[in-house]
Protein backbone atom coordinates (compact mmCIF):
# COMPACT_ATOMS: atom_id res chain seq x y z
CA UNK A 1 0.00 0.00 0.00
CA UNK A 2 1.36 3.49 -0.81
CA UNK A 3 2.61 5.34 2.23
CA UNK A 4 0.84 8.62 2.89
CA UNK A 5 3.95 9.84 4.63
CA UNK A 6 7.41 8.43 4.10
CA UNK A 7 10.80 9.38 5.49
CA UNK A 8 14.14 8.23 4.15
CA UNK A 9 17.44 8.53 6.08
CA UNK A 10 16.05 11.27 8.26
CA UNK A 11 18.63 12.95 10.49
CA UNK A 12 17.67 15.67 12.92
CA UNK A 13 19.65 17.50 15.60
CA UNK A 14 18.23 19.51 18.48
CA UNK A 15 20.45 22.28 19.83
CA UNK A 16 23.44 20.77 18.03
CA UNK A 17 22.89 17.27 19.48
CA UNK A 18 21.95 14.61 16.93
CA UNK A 19 18.61 13.06 17.92
CA UNK A 20 17.54 11.08 14.86
CA UNK A 21 20.17 9.06 13.00
CA UNK A 22 19.09 8.16 9.47
CA UNK A 23 15.54 7.10 10.29
CA UNK A 24 13.47 5.58 7.47
CA UNK A 25 9.77 5.00 8.04
CA UNK A 26 6.68 4.37 5.97
CA UNK A 27 3.33 5.45 7.34
CA UNK A 28 0.70 3.68 5.25
CA UNK A 29 -3.03 4.31 5.70
CA UNK A 30 -4.05 2.87 9.07
CA UNK A 31 -2.87 3.45 12.60
CA UNK A 32 0.83 3.35 13.48
CA UNK A 33 1.84 3.55 17.14
CA UNK A 34 5.33 4.89 17.84
CA UNK A 35 6.83 3.53 21.05
CA UNK A 36 10.20 3.53 22.76
CA UNK A 37 11.92 4.53 25.97
CA UNK A 38 12.28 8.18 27.05
CA UNK A 39 14.65 10.10 24.80
CA UNK A 40 14.31 7.63 21.92
CA UNK A 41 13.40 10.46 19.52
CA UNK A 42 9.69 9.64 19.10
CA UNK A 43 8.40 13.21 19.42
CA UNK A 44 11.28 14.54 17.33
CA UNK A 45 10.38 12.07 14.58
CA UNK A 46 6.77 13.21 14.67
CA UNK A 47 7.76 16.88 14.51
CA UNK A 48 10.20 16.22 11.66
CA UNK A 49 7.48 14.34 9.76
CA UNK A 50 5.18 17.33 10.28
CA UNK A 51 7.84 19.61 8.79
CA UNK A 52 8.29 21.51 12.05
CA UNK A 53 12.01 20.83 12.43
CA UNK A 54 14.92 21.50 10.10
CA UNK A 55 16.49 18.30 8.79
CA UNK A 56 20.22 17.68 8.77
CA UNK A 57 19.77 14.96 6.21
CA UNK A 58 17.22 12.77 4.49
CA UNK A 59 13.88 13.49 2.91
CA UNK A 60 10.18 13.29 3.77
CA UNK A 61 7.50 12.62 1.17
CA UNK A 62 3.86 13.51 1.68
CA UNK A 63 1.53 11.68 -0.70
CA UNK A 64 4.52 10.91 -2.92
CA UNK A 65 5.74 14.51 -3.15
CA UNK A 66 8.70 15.93 -1.16
CA UNK A 67 7.41 17.77 1.90
CA UNK A 68 9.28 20.95 0.93
CA UNK A 69 7.47 21.10 -2.40
CA UNK A 70 4.14 21.67 -0.65
CA UNK A 71 3.30 25.20 0.43
CA UNK A 72 3.01 25.68 4.20
CA UNK A 73 -0.75 25.98 3.93
CA UNK A 74 -1.21 22.98 1.65
CA UNK A 75 0.83 20.94 4.09
CA UNK A 76 -1.25 22.16 7.04
CA UNK A 77 -4.41 21.04 5.24
CA UNK A 78 -2.99 17.53 4.88
CA UNK A 79 -1.07 16.97 8.11
CA UNK A 80 -2.59 17.75 11.50
CA UNK A 81 -0.17 17.64 14.43
CA UNK A 82 -0.96 17.41 18.13
CA UNK A 83 1.79 18.63 20.46
CA UNK A 84 3.04 16.63 23.41
CA UNK A 85 1.53 18.07 26.60
CA UNK A 86 -0.13 20.61 24.34
CA UNK A 87 -0.51 24.12 25.64
CA UNK A 88 -3.90 25.69 25.80
CA UNK A 89 -3.94 28.79 27.92
CA UNK A 90 -5.62 32.03 27.25
CA UNK A 91 -9.13 33.26 27.01
CA UNK A 92 -10.59 31.20 24.21
CA UNK A 93 -13.66 29.07 24.74
CA UNK A 94 -13.53 25.39 23.78
CA UNK A 95 -15.38 26.07 20.56
CA UNK A 96 -13.08 28.96 19.64
CA UNK A 97 -10.08 26.72 20.26
CA UNK A 98 -11.44 23.87 18.13
CA UNK A 99 -12.23 26.42 15.43
CA UNK A 100 -8.49 27.10 15.07
CA UNK A 101 -8.37 23.74 13.30
CA UNK A 102 -10.10 25.40 10.33
CA UNK A 103 -7.28 27.95 9.91
CA UNK A 104 -5.39 25.91 7.28
CA UNK A 105 -8.50 26.03 5.08
CA UNK A 106 -9.73 29.53 5.86
CA UNK A 107 -6.40 31.30 6.17
CA UNK A 108 -6.20 34.43 8.32
CA UNK A 109 -8.79 36.34 6.37
CA UNK A 110 -11.40 33.71 5.53
CA UNK A 111 -14.90 33.69 6.99
CA UNK A 112 -16.12 30.36 8.36
CA UNK A 113 -19.04 28.85 6.47
CA UNK A 114 -21.60 26.20 7.47
CA UNK A 115 -19.21 23.45 6.41
CA UNK A 116 -16.55 24.72 8.82
CA UNK A 117 -19.08 24.88 11.67
CA UNK A 118 -20.17 21.35 10.84
CA UNK A 119 -16.56 20.13 10.99
CA UNK A 120 -16.05 21.83 14.35
CA UNK A 121 -19.27 20.30 15.74
CA UNK A 122 -18.31 16.83 14.49
CA UNK A 123 -14.81 17.10 15.98
CA UNK A 124 -16.18 18.14 19.36
CA UNK A 125 -18.69 15.32 19.33
CA UNK A 126 -15.99 12.79 18.43
CA UNK A 127 -13.95 13.69 21.52
CA UNK A 128 -16.99 14.34 23.71
CA UNK A 129 -16.30 17.96 24.44
CA UNK A 130 -19.36 19.48 22.81
CA UNK A 131 -21.17 19.78 26.15
CA UNK A 132 -18.79 22.40 27.44
CA UNK A 133 -18.04 24.17 24.20
CA UNK A 134 -18.79 27.58 25.71
CA UNK A 135 -16.54 27.10 28.72
CA UNK A 136 -13.11 28.67 28.81
CA UNK A 137 -10.00 26.51 28.67
CA UNK A 138 -8.87 27.75 32.06
CA UNK A 139 -11.96 26.19 33.59
CA UNK A 140 -11.16 22.67 32.35
CA UNK A 141 -9.23 19.79 33.87
CA UNK A 142 -6.11 18.41 32.17
CA UNK A 143 -8.04 15.51 30.62
CA UNK A 144 -10.86 17.74 29.39
CA UNK A 145 -8.34 20.11 27.86
CA UNK A 146 -6.59 17.22 26.12
CA UNK A 147 -9.89 16.19 24.53
CA UNK A 148 -10.38 19.76 23.26
CA UNK A 149 -6.88 19.80 21.78
CA UNK A 150 -7.61 16.50 20.06
CA UNK A 151 -10.85 17.95 18.70
CA UNK A 152 -8.83 20.91 17.37
CA UNK A 153 -6.65 18.45 15.44
CA UNK A 154 -9.67 16.54 14.11
CA UNK A 155 -11.31 19.77 12.97
CA UNK A 156 -8.57 20.19 10.37
CA UNK A 157 -10.01 17.18 8.52
CA UNK A 158 -6.49 16.22 7.39
CA UNK A 159 -5.80 12.80 5.83
CA UNK A 160 -2.66 12.43 7.97
CA UNK A 161 -2.80 12.83 11.75
CA UNK A 162 0.40 12.99 13.82
CA UNK A 163 -0.49 12.81 17.50
CA UNK A 164 2.08 13.10 20.26
CA UNK A 165 0.73 11.26 23.29
CA UNK A 166 -2.96 11.85 22.63
CA UNK A 167 -4.02 9.84 25.69
CA UNK A 168 -2.03 11.93 28.21
CA UNK A 169 -4.13 13.01 31.23
CA UNK A 170 -7.09 10.89 30.14
CA UNK A 171 -8.92 8.52 32.46
CA UNK A 172 -9.34 4.87 31.31
CA UNK A 173 -12.81 5.33 29.73
CA UNK A 174 -11.57 8.26 27.68
CA UNK A 175 -8.31 6.49 26.79
CA UNK A 176 -10.38 3.66 25.38
CA UNK A 177 -12.65 6.14 23.62
CA UNK A 178 -9.61 7.80 22.01
CA UNK A 179 -8.23 4.44 20.88
CA UNK A 180 -11.60 3.57 19.30
CA UNK A 181 -11.61 6.97 17.66
CA UNK A 182 -8.08 6.45 16.29
CA UNK A 183 -9.10 3.03 14.95
CA UNK A 184 -12.08 4.63 13.23
CA UNK A 185 -9.98 7.49 11.80
CA UNK A 186 -7.37 5.01 10.61
CA UNK A 187 -9.98 3.40 8.35
CA UNK A 188 -10.23 6.66 6.39
CA UNK A 189 -6.67 7.96 6.61
CA UNK A 190 -3.27 7.74 8.22
CA UNK A 191 -2.80 8.11 11.96
CA UNK A 192 0.56 8.01 13.73
CA UNK A 193 0.65 8.44 17.48
CA UNK A 194 3.42 8.42 20.02
CA UNK A 195 2.19 6.38 22.98
CA UNK A 196 3.73 5.53 26.31
CA UNK A 197 0.95 3.13 27.18
CA UNK A 198 2.13 -0.16 25.64
CA UNK A 199 -1.20 -2.04 26.00
CA UNK A 200 -2.89 0.73 24.00
CA UNK A 201 -0.06 0.88 21.46
CA UNK A 202 -0.38 -2.85 20.82
CA UNK A 203 -3.90 -2.26 19.48
CA UNK A 204 -2.49 -0.30 16.51
CA UNK A 205 -2.22 -1.78 13.01
CA UNK A 206 1.51 -1.17 12.92
CA UNK A 207 3.96 -0.57 15.75
CA UNK A 208 7.17 1.41 15.27
CA UNK A 209 9.73 0.76 17.98
CA UNK A 210 12.54 3.28 18.51
CA UNK A 211 15.65 3.47 20.63
CA UNK A 212 18.35 6.16 20.74
CA UNK A 213 17.21 7.89 17.57
CA UNK A 214 16.95 4.75 15.46
CA UNK A 215 14.13 2.48 14.40
CA UNK A 216 14.55 -0.92 16.03
CA UNK A 217 11.47 -2.62 14.58
CA UNK A 218 8.42 -1.72 12.57
CA UNK A 219 5.85 -4.45 12.18
CA UNK A 220 2.24 -5.48 12.65
CA UNK A 221 1.11 -5.54 16.28
CA UNK A 222 0.94 -9.34 16.38
CA UNK A 223 4.46 -9.96 15.05
CA UNK A 224 6.40 -12.18 17.53
CA UNK A 225 9.71 -10.59 16.50
CA UNK A 226 8.31 -7.18 17.35
CA UNK A 227 7.24 -8.47 20.76
CA UNK A 228 10.73 -9.81 21.40
CA UNK A 229 12.25 -6.48 20.35
CA UNK A 230 9.90 -4.55 22.66
CA UNK A 231 10.92 -6.72 25.63
CA UNK A 232 14.57 -6.19 24.78
CA UNK A 233 14.33 -2.41 24.24
CA UNK A 234 12.41 -1.98 27.50
CA UNK A 235 15.11 -4.04 29.28
CA UNK A 236 12.71 -6.91 29.99
CA UNK A 237 10.74 -4.73 32.36
CA UNK A 238 7.63 -5.76 30.38
CA UNK A 239 6.40 -9.01 28.89
CA UNK A 240 3.80 -9.40 26.22
CA UNK A 241 0.95 -11.88 26.50
CA UNK A 242 -2.01 -12.79 24.41
CA UNK A 243 -5.28 -12.38 26.27
CA UNK A 244 -8.58 -13.10 24.53
CA UNK A 245 -7.28 -12.48 21.03
CA UNK A 246 -5.41 -9.27 21.93
CA UNK A 247 -1.82 -8.68 22.93
CA UNK A 248 -1.14 -6.83 26.15
CA UNK A 249 2.06 -5.67 27.86
CA UNK A 250 2.44 -6.47 31.52
CA UNK A 251 5.08 -5.27 33.97
CA UNK A 252 7.62 -8.01 34.55
CA UNK A 253 7.83 -8.15 38.34
CA UNK A 254 9.00 -11.71 38.96
Amino acid sequence: MTAALRAQDLSVALGGTPVLHGVSVDLPPGWTAIIGPNGAGKSTLLRALAGLLPRQGGQVWLQGRPLDDWSVRERAQRIAWLAQQGQAQGDLTVRELVHLGRLPHLGLFGTPGPQDEHRVDAAMQATECADWQHRRLQQLSGGERQRCLLARVLAVGAPVLLLDEPTTHLDPPHQVAVVRLLQGLARQGTVASVLHDLPLALQADQVLLMRAGRVVACAAHDDPQLHAAICEVFEHAVRIQRVGGRYIALPHLD
Binding site: V72, A76, W81, Q87, A88, E96, G107, V156
Partner: protein, 335 residues
Protein backbone atom coordinates in the same frame (compact mmCIF):
# COMPACT_ATOMS: atom_id res chain seq x y z
CA UNK B 1 -20.02 35.32 27.14
CA UNK B 2 -21.10 37.08 23.94
CA UNK B 3 -23.44 39.23 26.00
CA UNK B 4 -20.66 40.20 28.41
CA UNK B 5 -18.43 41.14 25.48
CA UNK B 6 -21.11 43.32 23.93
CA UNK B 7 -21.93 44.87 27.29
CA UNK B 8 -18.31 45.85 27.87
CA UNK B 9 -18.08 47.53 24.46
CA UNK B 10 -21.29 49.46 25.10
CA UNK B 11 -20.05 50.48 28.55
CA UNK B 12 -16.76 51.70 27.08
CA UNK B 13 -18.60 53.62 24.36
CA UNK B 14 -20.86 55.26 26.95
CA UNK B 15 -17.90 56.08 29.20
CA UNK B 16 -16.12 57.60 26.19
CA UNK B 17 -19.12 59.85 25.50
CA UNK B 18 -19.42 61.02 29.10
CA UNK B 19 -15.68 61.61 29.45
CA UNK B 20 -15.55 63.53 26.15
CA UNK B 21 -18.19 65.90 27.52
CA UNK B 22 -16.28 66.12 30.80
CA UNK B 23 -13.12 66.83 28.82
CA UNK B 24 -14.81 69.75 27.06
CA UNK B 25 -16.17 71.09 30.33
CA UNK B 26 -13.04 70.69 32.45
CA UNK B 27 -10.92 73.80 32.56
CA UNK B 28 -8.45 75.70 34.64
CA UNK B 29 -11.13 76.32 37.28
CA UNK B 30 -11.99 72.63 37.62
CA UNK B 31 -15.52 71.29 37.24
CA UNK B 32 -18.25 73.77 36.54
CA UNK B 33 -21.16 73.01 34.26
CA UNK B 34 -22.51 76.53 34.69
CA UNK B 35 -19.09 77.92 33.85
CA UNK B 36 -18.98 75.73 30.77
CA UNK B 37 -22.37 76.87 29.44
CA UNK B 38 -21.36 80.44 30.13
CA UNK B 39 -18.08 79.88 28.28
CA UNK B 40 -19.94 78.42 25.31
CA UNK B 41 -21.99 81.60 24.99
CA UNK B 42 -18.97 83.83 25.37
CA UNK B 43 -16.55 85.07 22.70
CA UNK B 44 -13.73 82.67 23.69
CA UNK B 45 -15.70 79.45 23.08
CA UNK B 46 -14.09 78.85 19.70
CA UNK B 47 -10.58 79.25 21.04
CA UNK B 48 -10.81 77.57 24.45
CA UNK B 49 -13.22 74.75 23.65
CA UNK B 50 -12.66 74.39 19.91
CA UNK B 51 -8.89 74.82 19.76
CA UNK B 52 -7.66 73.71 23.17
CA UNK B 53 -10.05 71.42 25.06
CA UNK B 54 -11.62 69.53 22.13
CA UNK B 55 -8.37 68.43 20.45
CA UNK B 56 -6.80 67.64 23.80
CA UNK B 57 -9.79 65.49 24.78
CA UNK B 58 -9.96 63.67 21.47
CA UNK B 59 -6.17 63.38 21.35
CA UNK B 60 -6.04 61.77 24.80
CA UNK B 61 -8.75 59.31 23.74
CA UNK B 62 -6.86 58.41 20.54
CA UNK B 63 -3.49 58.11 22.30
CA UNK B 64 -5.03 55.82 24.89
CA UNK B 65 -6.62 53.73 22.13
CA UNK B 66 -3.28 53.28 20.36
CA UNK B 67 -1.56 52.31 23.62
CA UNK B 68 -4.36 49.89 24.58
CA UNK B 69 -4.17 48.29 21.15
CA UNK B 70 -0.38 48.06 21.29
CA UNK B 71 -0.57 46.52 24.78
CA UNK B 72 -3.04 43.86 23.64
CA UNK B 73 -0.84 43.03 20.63
CA UNK B 74 2.26 42.79 22.87
CA UNK B 75 0.54 40.57 25.44
CA UNK B 76 -0.88 38.29 22.75
CA UNK B 77 2.35 38.09 20.80
CA UNK B 78 4.55 37.33 23.80
CA UNK B 79 1.85 35.31 25.58
CA UNK B 80 2.77 37.24 28.66
CA UNK B 81 0.26 39.27 30.67
CA UNK B 82 3.09 41.55 31.84
CA UNK B 83 4.10 42.60 28.34
CA UNK B 84 3.55 46.27 27.58
CA UNK B 85 3.97 48.38 24.44
CA UNK B 86 7.33 49.78 25.59
CA UNK B 87 8.90 46.34 25.87
CA UNK B 88 10.93 46.34 22.67
CA UNK B 89 12.92 49.52 23.12
CA UNK B 90 10.44 52.07 21.78
CA UNK B 91 10.35 54.05 25.04
CA UNK B 92 14.10 54.31 25.45
CA UNK B 93 14.56 55.01 21.72
CA UNK B 94 12.03 57.83 21.78
CA UNK B 95 13.52 59.30 24.99
CA UNK B 96 17.00 59.29 23.52
CA UNK B 97 15.82 61.01 20.35
CA UNK B 98 13.99 63.68 22.35
CA UNK B 99 17.03 64.28 24.56
CA UNK B 100 19.27 64.47 21.47
CA UNK B 101 17.09 67.19 19.95
CA UNK B 102 16.85 69.12 23.20
CA UNK B 103 20.58 68.90 23.74
CA UNK B 104 21.42 69.80 20.14
CA UNK B 105 22.67 73.28 20.98
CA UNK B 106 25.09 72.16 23.67
CA UNK B 107 26.22 69.21 21.62
CA UNK B 108 26.95 71.56 18.75
CA UNK B 109 29.19 73.62 21.01
CA UNK B 110 30.92 70.47 22.25
CA UNK B 111 32.10 69.24 18.92
CA UNK B 112 29.17 67.57 17.20
CA UNK B 113 29.59 70.16 14.49
CA UNK B 114 27.19 73.03 13.79
CA UNK B 115 25.58 71.42 10.69
CA UNK B 116 24.70 68.21 12.53
CA UNK B 117 23.52 70.12 15.60
CA UNK B 118 21.47 72.45 13.40
CA UNK B 119 19.86 69.51 11.68
CA UNK B 120 19.03 67.92 15.01
CA UNK B 121 17.39 71.04 16.36
CA UNK B 122 15.35 71.50 13.19
CA UNK B 123 13.87 68.03 13.55
CA UNK B 124 10.75 68.51 15.60
CA UNK B 125 10.40 66.74 18.91
CA UNK B 126 7.42 64.80 17.59
CA UNK B 127 9.24 63.48 14.55
CA UNK B 128 12.30 62.72 16.63
CA UNK B 129 10.32 60.78 19.22
CA UNK B 130 8.53 58.78 16.52
CA UNK B 131 11.74 57.98 14.68
CA UNK B 132 13.47 57.18 17.99
CA UNK B 133 10.72 54.76 18.99
CA UNK B 134 10.92 52.95 15.66
CA UNK B 135 14.72 53.02 15.82
CA UNK B 136 14.68 51.43 19.28
CA UNK B 137 12.48 48.56 18.05
CA UNK B 138 14.60 48.15 14.93
CA UNK B 139 17.72 47.88 17.07
CA UNK B 140 15.99 45.25 19.22
CA UNK B 141 15.01 43.29 16.11
CA UNK B 142 18.58 43.47 14.82
CA UNK B 143 20.06 42.31 18.12
CA UNK B 144 17.52 39.49 18.32
CA UNK B 145 18.30 38.57 14.69
CA UNK B 146 14.67 38.82 13.62
CA UNK B 147 11.35 38.18 15.27
CA UNK B 148 11.50 34.42 15.45
CA UNK B 149 12.53 33.83 19.04
CA UNK B 150 10.39 35.31 21.79
CA UNK B 151 12.95 35.08 24.57
CA UNK B 152 15.73 36.53 22.44
CA UNK B 153 13.46 39.42 21.48
CA UNK B 154 12.53 40.15 25.08
CA UNK B 155 16.15 40.03 26.22
CA UNK B 156 17.26 42.22 23.32
CA UNK B 157 14.49 44.66 24.30
CA UNK B 158 15.87 44.83 27.83
CA UNK B 159 19.43 45.38 26.55
CA UNK B 160 18.32 48.15 24.17
CA UNK B 161 16.31 49.76 26.97
CA UNK B 162 19.25 49.80 29.36
CA UNK B 163 21.83 50.96 26.83
CA UNK B 164 19.73 53.71 25.22
CA UNK B 165 18.68 54.99 28.64
CA UNK B 166 22.36 55.13 29.65
CA UNK B 167 23.14 57.16 26.50
CA UNK B 168 20.26 59.53 27.34
CA UNK B 169 21.68 59.90 30.85
CA UNK B 170 25.08 60.71 29.42
CA UNK B 171 23.60 63.32 27.08
CA UNK B 172 21.65 65.00 29.87
CA UNK B 173 24.81 65.06 31.92
CA UNK B 174 26.58 66.89 29.09
CA UNK B 175 23.60 69.13 28.38
CA UNK B 176 21.63 69.69 31.62
CA UNK B 177 19.14 71.97 29.84
CA UNK B 178 17.65 68.84 28.26
CA UNK B 179 16.76 67.47 31.68
CA UNK B 180 13.51 69.37 32.10
CA UNK B 181 12.22 68.44 28.64
CA UNK B 182 13.21 64.84 29.16
CA UNK B 183 11.32 64.76 32.44
CA UNK B 184 8.15 66.15 30.84
CA UNK B 185 8.46 63.59 28.05
CA UNK B 186 8.96 60.70 30.44
CA UNK B 187 6.00 61.67 32.62
CA UNK B 188 3.73 61.87 29.62
CA UNK B 189 1.50 64.81 28.85
CA UNK B 190 -1.71 65.37 26.94
CA UNK B 191 -1.36 69.14 27.24
CA UNK B 192 0.27 69.68 23.86
CA UNK B 193 -2.27 67.80 21.73
CA UNK B 194 -3.77 69.90 18.95
CA UNK B 195 -5.89 69.14 15.91
CA UNK B 196 -2.83 68.18 13.86
CA UNK B 197 -1.93 65.63 16.55
CA UNK B 198 -5.50 64.29 16.44
CA UNK B 199 -5.27 63.91 12.68
CA UNK B 200 -2.09 61.88 12.95
CA UNK B 201 -3.26 59.79 15.90
CA UNK B 202 -6.64 59.20 14.26
CA UNK B 203 -5.09 58.16 10.95
CA UNK B 204 -2.77 55.81 12.83
CA UNK B 205 -5.63 54.20 14.71
CA UNK B 206 -7.82 53.88 11.61
CA UNK B 207 -4.96 52.05 9.88
CA UNK B 208 -3.59 50.02 12.79
CA UNK B 209 -6.77 48.66 14.35
CA UNK B 210 -8.22 46.93 11.28
CA UNK B 211 -4.75 45.62 10.35
CA UNK B 212 -4.26 44.19 13.83
CA UNK B 213 -7.70 42.62 13.73
CA UNK B 214 -6.91 41.02 10.38
CA UNK B 215 -3.84 39.43 11.97
CA UNK B 216 -5.59 38.56 15.22
CA UNK B 217 -6.08 34.87 14.40
CA UNK B 218 -2.29 34.55 14.57
CA UNK B 219 -2.44 35.62 18.20
CA UNK B 220 -5.27 33.14 18.82
CA UNK B 221 -3.25 30.34 17.24
CA UNK B 222 -0.21 31.25 19.37
CA UNK B 223 -2.27 30.23 22.39
CA UNK B 224 -1.51 26.65 21.29
CA UNK B 225 2.25 27.29 21.22
CA UNK B 226 4.52 28.28 18.35
CA UNK B 227 4.89 24.84 16.78
CA UNK B 228 1.16 24.22 16.77
CA UNK B 229 0.58 27.65 15.23
CA UNK B 230 3.08 26.80 12.50
CA UNK B 231 1.44 23.43 11.96
CA UNK B 232 -1.77 25.34 11.16
CA UNK B 233 -0.09 26.80 8.10
CA UNK B 234 0.78 30.22 9.52
CA UNK B 235 3.98 31.83 8.23
CA UNK B 236 4.91 32.73 11.78
CA UNK B 237 8.19 34.65 11.22
CA UNK B 238 6.56 37.05 8.77
CA UNK B 239 3.37 37.41 10.79
CA UNK B 240 5.29 38.07 14.00
CA UNK B 241 7.36 40.69 12.22
CA UNK B 242 4.21 42.34 10.85
CA UNK B 243 2.67 42.42 14.33
CA UNK B 244 5.86 43.88 15.82
CA UNK B 245 5.93 46.60 13.13
CA UNK B 246 2.31 47.38 13.95
CA UNK B 247 3.09 47.45 17.66
CA UNK B 248 6.09 49.72 17.07
CA UNK B 249 4.17 52.11 14.83
CA UNK B 250 1.19 52.41 17.18
CA UNK B 251 3.44 52.91 20.21
CA UNK B 252 5.75 55.31 18.38
CA UNK B 253 2.82 57.44 17.27
CA UNK B 254 1.31 57.59 20.75
CA UNK B 255 4.65 58.30 22.41
CA UNK B 256 5.61 60.98 19.90
CA UNK B 257 2.44 62.94 20.68
CA UNK B 258 2.02 62.38 24.41
CA UNK B 259 5.30 61.09 25.82
CA UNK B 260 5.71 57.95 27.87
CA UNK B 261 2.24 57.48 29.31
CA UNK B 262 2.65 54.62 31.76
CA UNK B 263 0.44 51.61 32.48
CA UNK B 264 -2.36 52.27 29.93
CA UNK B 265 -0.99 49.66 27.54
CA UNK B 266 -0.52 47.19 30.38
CA UNK B 267 -3.79 47.72 32.23
CA UNK B 268 -6.27 48.07 29.33
CA UNK B 269 -5.97 44.46 28.05
CA UNK B 270 -6.13 43.19 31.64
CA UNK B 271 -9.35 45.08 32.20
CA UNK B 272 -10.86 43.59 29.05
CA UNK B 273 -9.77 40.06 29.86
CA UNK B 274 -11.07 40.40 33.38
CA UNK B 275 -14.61 41.30 32.37
CA UNK B 276 -15.06 39.78 28.94
CA UNK B 277 -12.29 37.43 27.80
CA UNK B 278 -12.42 36.43 24.17
CA UNK B 279 -10.54 35.81 20.96
CA UNK B 280 -8.01 38.45 19.97
CA UNK B 281 -10.23 39.92 17.26
CA UNK B 282 -12.40 41.15 20.11
CA UNK B 283 -9.67 41.75 22.70
CA UNK B 284 -7.76 44.11 20.40
CA UNK B 285 -10.83 46.25 19.72
CA UNK B 286 -11.97 46.28 23.34
CA UNK B 287 -8.44 46.98 24.65
CA UNK B 288 -8.18 49.97 22.34
CA UNK B 289 -11.49 51.26 23.69
CA UNK B 290 -10.45 50.55 27.29
CA UNK B 291 -7.10 52.29 26.78
CA UNK B 292 -8.91 55.30 25.31
CA UNK B 293 -11.27 55.53 28.29
CA UNK B 294 -8.45 55.08 30.81
CA UNK B 295 -6.27 57.81 29.36
CA UNK B 296 -9.15 60.21 28.82
CA UNK B 297 -10.29 59.67 32.42
CA UNK B 298 -6.74 60.29 33.61
CA UNK B 299 -6.52 63.42 31.44
CA UNK B 300 -9.75 64.88 32.83
CA UNK B 301 -8.59 64.05 36.37
CA UNK B 302 -5.16 65.58 35.69
CA UNK B 303 -6.81 68.83 34.66
CA UNK B 304 -9.28 69.06 37.52
CA UNK B 305 -7.93 67.37 40.63
CA UNK B 306 -5.78 70.28 41.79
CA UNK B 307 -7.06 72.97 39.41
CA UNK B 308 -5.82 75.50 38.43
CA UNK B 309 -2.63 73.45 38.75
CA UNK B 310 -2.29 70.47 36.44
CA UNK B 311 -0.89 67.02 37.27
CA UNK B 312 1.23 65.14 34.73
CA UNK B 313 -1.14 62.63 33.17
CA UNK B 314 1.47 59.86 33.21
CA UNK B 315 1.66 60.06 37.00
CA UNK B 316 -2.09 59.56 37.23
CA UNK B 317 -2.17 56.65 34.77
CA UNK B 318 0.62 55.00 36.76
CA UNK B 319 -1.33 55.46 40.01
CA UNK B 320 -4.66 54.33 38.47
CA UNK B 321 -3.11 51.45 36.54
CA UNK B 322 -0.93 50.30 39.41
CA UNK B 323 -3.84 50.36 41.87
CA UNK B 324 -6.05 48.48 39.42
CA UNK B 325 -3.44 45.77 38.84
CA UNK B 326 -2.94 45.45 42.58
CA UNK B 327 -6.69 44.97 43.08
CA UNK B 328 -6.70 42.37 40.34
CA UNK B 329 -3.79 40.58 41.97
CA UNK B 330 -5.53 40.48 45.32
CA UNK B 331 -8.71 39.14 43.77
CA UNK B 332 -6.90 36.43 41.89
CA UNK B 333 -4.59 35.29 44.66
CA UNK B 334 -5.83 32.25 46.58
CA UNK B 335 -7.36 33.28 49.89
Amino acid sequence: MQRRRRRLLWALAAASGVLMLAGLAAGGDGWSWAGFTQLLQGPDAGLIVGQIRAPRTLGAWLTGALLGLAGAVAQGLFRNPLADPFLLGSASGASLAVVAVLAAGTLGAQGLGPPAAGMLSRVGLVAAAFAGALGGVLLTLMLARGAQHTLRLLLAGVVVGVVLTAVSDLLTLAAPEALRGRQVFMLGSTGFLGWDSCLMLGSGLVLALPMAQRLSRTLDALVLGEDSARSLGLALPQLRLALICLLAAATGLAVSQAGLVAFVGLAAPHLVRRYAPGPHGYTLLASAAAGAVLLLAADVAARTLIAPQELPVGVLTAVFGGTYLLLLLNRQSPS
